[in-house]
């Protein structure tokens, strides 16, 4: 086949795949992870079940692909924020606020636990850990944050503390959580 034809096919396949994942995102938002079934995804995407099975072997594979895309988008969003203008502590604050917002959306249950065992999650967590570590070290050097605890440990503290956002029902509570978490990072000498 000529090259142009191949490119057209590739573009078509990529577009169908994206449409499938867009539908998955809608189904998850409406009814949670368990509501994603092969028939629902096919019907709502406007493709046949046979076509859907050419892309994904089962609903779990669809969910995994959707989750990978979701995690990648979140990581990109956080990375963009970390590169904005401002001091290290300002950028760190913005990243932590965005991360808490993401953590708040997290789904519970067995299926969510399984998705979060995926390698893509480990990889994203390492990336995020590195990003925070860098900002924490910069902010400590500037004297804005504590320097008596290794940045790697402070990054882990932040990431874990902010997962408490998953149980919060208001944006005000999320803001308070971020503020409490940040207070744990202040220079030690100012705290006492």
């Amino acid at each position: 086949m000529p090259k142009l034809w191949n490119e057209t096919i590739d573009a078509h396949r990529a577009a169908v795949r994206e449409a499938i994942l867009d539908t998955t995102a809608k189904l998850v938002a409406e009814g949670g992870l368990r509501s994603v079934t092969m028939s629902q995804v096919a019907e709502r995407t406007g493709i046949g079940r046979a076509t859907l099975y050419k892309y994904f072997s089962d609903a779990e594979a669809v969910l995994l692909a959707w989750h990978e895309r979701q995690i990648a988008a979140h990581l990109e969003q956080l990375s963009d924020i970390s590169h904005q203008t401002g001091t290290a502590v300002e950028r760190l604050t913005a990243v932590l606020e965005a991360y808490a917002g993401i953590a708040r959306q997290r789904h519970g249950g067995e299926l969510a636990a399984l998705l979060h065992q995926g390698e893509h999650v480990t990889h994203a967590e390492q990336h995020l850990q590195g990003m925070l570590q860098h900002l924490l070290a910069q902010a400590a050097q500037a004297g804005d944050l504590r320097s008596d605890v290794p940045p790697a440990e402070l990054a882990q503290y932040c990431l874990h503390a902010l997962t408490a956002a998953a149980g919060l029902t208001s944006q005000a509570a999320v803001t308070r959580l971020v503020s409490v978490t940040l207070d744990g990072l202040r220079p030690h000498s100012l705290t006492y």
Copy 2:
């Protein structure tokens, strides 16, 4: 059968059950959750496989029973600490230190995620949440901890922040994590 006989049987059954769970604890400590198999448990407890199956239907049931006993023991330990003498903030600090030590032992992987979905965990978390909330409210009233954030939210913050202990390799790092977490709880006016 006479009452005494029944009591003897009950005591015997309870003793065998405890012995099975003691073996399970040893196997988990030696080789992790996956190393708990029905044959290993029977052999190391010194009972026949047929007897073991009278107590538990499969390895997952053994693990669940062991985990329930484990969680109950941890909760009792934390409750004892929370009732020791001292100010509220002193007792809270002691509870958080003990909790971080427990969180550090936590196993990872799919099986651990499944165990932690159990109702006994939800129940224990609620109990612990209540315990912390009470101490946090007392300490805030005494002016030792912040009062600008509801105690329920601060309790969630503590419990999540301290799960970071699972990834720490030294006791010194765990101590630093507890200290950072506590700094997040200090009165707001002193932090700035």
